[in-house]
């Protein structure tokens, strides 16, 4: 193999960290240098993730030993079908958000803060990449904290002073979660004496009966549930999503939440195993029940909101329920649906939050009732909202329909008819909250007195939105393309192969 490609997994992490320093230094010289460097670095990361995915698809799982130290002495980067897929999804989102951020930050971030903003932005994306590709559970915690601390700073970075309180509350809850995770990792280390995920999976079955391992599992689950805002541990999420700058909301709603969900699935299925959660320590039933409640409760709370961003935030809680639902069912079809939903939700929610950001940028309001007649002045933005909204509801042939279809299929296969009904009720509730916005956008007259301007969004903001809206449709029609990557990933997770 080409030596550069062989070292790509580590370059994916090291170069962006150097670039983050470079952004800071270049920003000291001239503030305008920081954005191009960020864009270039994220483009590089996206390109490398594509190359890595292709080589994983053709050459199998990549094991990269940092510094040449083989585990258990050294830290290992492991890239298989599952995380190469997640890596491509989050970096594609990060790239589109970086394009969007050129104009998108203008409203929320004071000009003198843009350099710092992009440094932290770059660190967050790098932290997420690290979480995705690491094969060492303590390393996972370190990258999780790099990403989380960047997120706390970003949430509190806006002009909106309420974001400070949202950021502080998120920091407190996030740090408790991190504490529980690191405690769980400690318990695992006590039980096995290793931190490498592959070795943990091999050594844990011998001590499945130990209370230490059960405590470790529960601590890790509670910690990750807070980080992904799994109902009822979601209390930090609505404020953090609503009050933070638009660009930050998009990034944490798509990339951060997806990578944390990935980490949770990785710990459940690759460190512990399917056999553990179904036989030794049966928790799938409970996860299924809580996920069902999350789907319904999130959607009902979303209906009650008048603020567009807050409505989308509650909708996120509902949608994360779908991903957890897949863990609760834990069979081939349901997990395919769950992993597809990671992509689907990233694309749809990214698009919807970008539209929300554009509406704030152009009209200065997030109150849903003030959107009447917007379709006449901002036709493309509203059309994108409709496409992503339709996908959120799950109307064929969109990607949102395909992921829910596989989830229902999995639930029926497992004989959980009641749970399958919950998925359908969740979709019906999504109709209520999405359709209300669409109806107001497309009916009624444009109220000049409440809205400042009604021009279409700037091109650099509109293009990412349109790309995502089109992806909602085309990924649904050509669903075989993502499924070709997801299927081997699920087989790997379930350990059937």
């Amino acid at each position: 193999m080409n030596p550069v490609i062989a070292h790509l997994p580590v370059l994916l992490l090291v170069l962006p960290i150097i670039a983050a320093l470079l952004i800071l230094l270049a920003g000291m010289v001239n503030r305008n240098f920081s954005y191009p460097i960020t864009l270039a670095t994220i483009s590089f990361q996206f390109a490398s993730s594509l190359i890595i995915m292709v080589s994983v698809m053709t050459g199998g799982t990549i094991h990269y030993y940092l510094g040449g130290w083989a585990p258990p002495m050294g830290i290992e980067l492991v890239i298989d079908a599952f995380n190469s897929y997640v890596l491509v999804v989050i970096l594609a989102m990060a790239l589109l958000i970086a394009v969007y951020a050129r104009r998108g930050t203008a409203l929320d971030i004071p000009p003198e803060k843009t350099v710092a903003f992009f440094v932290v932005f770059q660190l967050l994306v790098t932290g997420l990449c690290g979480m995705t590709i690491t094969g060492d559970i303590f390393n996972l915690y370190v990258f999780l904290e790099i990403a989380s601390i960047s997120t706390y700073a970003l949430v509190a970075s806006g002009r909106n002073t309420r974001s400070l309180i949202a950021g502080f509350n998120y920091l407190v809850l996030g740090s408790i979660a991190a504490g529980l995770i690191v405690l769980g990792i400690g318990f695992l280390y006590v039980a096995t004496g290793t931190l490498n995920m592959g070795e943990l999976a091999a050594m844990l079955p011998a001590s499945y009966g130990l209370a230490t391992v059960q405590a470790a599992f529960l601590l890790l689950m509670i910690g990750f549930s807070i980080k992904v805002a799994f109902f009822p541990l979601h209390l930090w999420l609505p404020d953090a999503y609503t009050e933070s700058p638009s660009v930050v909301t998009i990034l944490i709603a798509t990339a951060t939440s997806k990578v944390t969900a990935y980490a949770m699935i990785r710990v459940i299925f690759s460190v512990f195993t399917l056999q553990y959660i179904t036989e030794s320590f049966p928790v799938t039933e409970m996860i299924l029940v809580i996920a069902s409640i999350a789907i319904i409760a999130g959607a009902v709370l979303a209906i009650a909101q008048d603020n567009l961003k807050r409505m989308l935030a509650y909708s996120s809680i509902s949608q994360m329920g779908y991903i957890m639902f897949a863990i609760g069912i834990a069979n081939q079809a349901a997990l395919e649906g769950g992993l597809l939903h990671i992509l689907a939700h990233a694309v749809m929610k990214g698009c919807l939050f970008m539209v929300a950001g554009i509406l704030i940028y152009r009209t200065g309001t997030t109150a849903i009732r003030q959107f009447s007649g917007l379709s006449k002045t901002m036709p493309f933005t509203c059309a994108a909202f409709v496409l992503a909204g339709v996908s959120m509801i799950g109307i064929p042939p969109t990607i949102g329909f395909m992921s829910k279809y596989y989830l229902v299929l999995g639930a029926v296969e497992a004989g959980q008819y009641l749970a399958a009904a919950v998925l359908l009720i969740g979709s019906l509730l999504a109709v209520v909250y999405i359709w209300r916005v669409i109806e107001i956008m497309y009916s009624g007259s444009h109220q000049e007195e409440t809205l400042h301007t009604g021009a279409e969004a700037p091109l650099s903001m509109l293009v990412p939105v349109l790309i995502l809206a089109a992806s909602c449709l085309f990924l649904g029609i050509f669903v075989d393309v993502p499924l070709a990557i997801i299927e081997p990933a699920v087989t790997l997770l379930l350990g059937v192969g």
């Binding site: 002073t161 407190v172 006590v190």
Partner: protein
């Protein structure tokens, strides 16, 4: 009976202290209204985790893990948890730094650093 329990307590003294510290930290995080006190609670919570890691790394009668000349052996404590905790300390310091800087901005914007009073200030238009 009581004596046995007491010896059990003494032999696991560090772990009990880790639990006590952790609960003190959580209590401060939940019950204290002052944001600075919440941060202190967070630090106590993290310290409890450091104590837990360092405690299970210890080996009775163990010495520092230093490479010895060929032929000599020694019982030494497990160095890995110590190294992990160095990383965790860095994480804890960074979290504290971000938290304190957010509190500084909150106090500049609202002139309060108390959760209850903050709620009142937020209610005003």
């Amino acid at each position: 009976m009581t004596e046995e329990l007491f010896t059990l307590f003494l032999s696991r003294y560090n772990y009990w202290m880790a639990i006590v510290l952790m609960l003190i930290g959580l209590y401060a995080l939940i019950a204290k209204q002052n944001l600075i006190k919440k941060i202190i609670g967070l630090n106590i919570f993290q310290t409890a985790i450091f104590l837990f890691y360092i405690s299970f790394a210890d080996v009775t009668g163990g010495t520092a893990p230093i490479l010895l000349p060929e032929g000599t052996g020694a019982l030494y404590v497990n160095p890995v948890p110590h190294v992990l905790m160095l990383t965790a300390i860095v994480v804890g310091v960074s979290t504290t730094a971000v938290a304190l800087s957010i509190v500084v901005r909150i106090s500049r914007e609202y002139n309060v650093i108390d959760d209850d009073e903050l709620g009142e200030v937020m209610q005003r238009p």
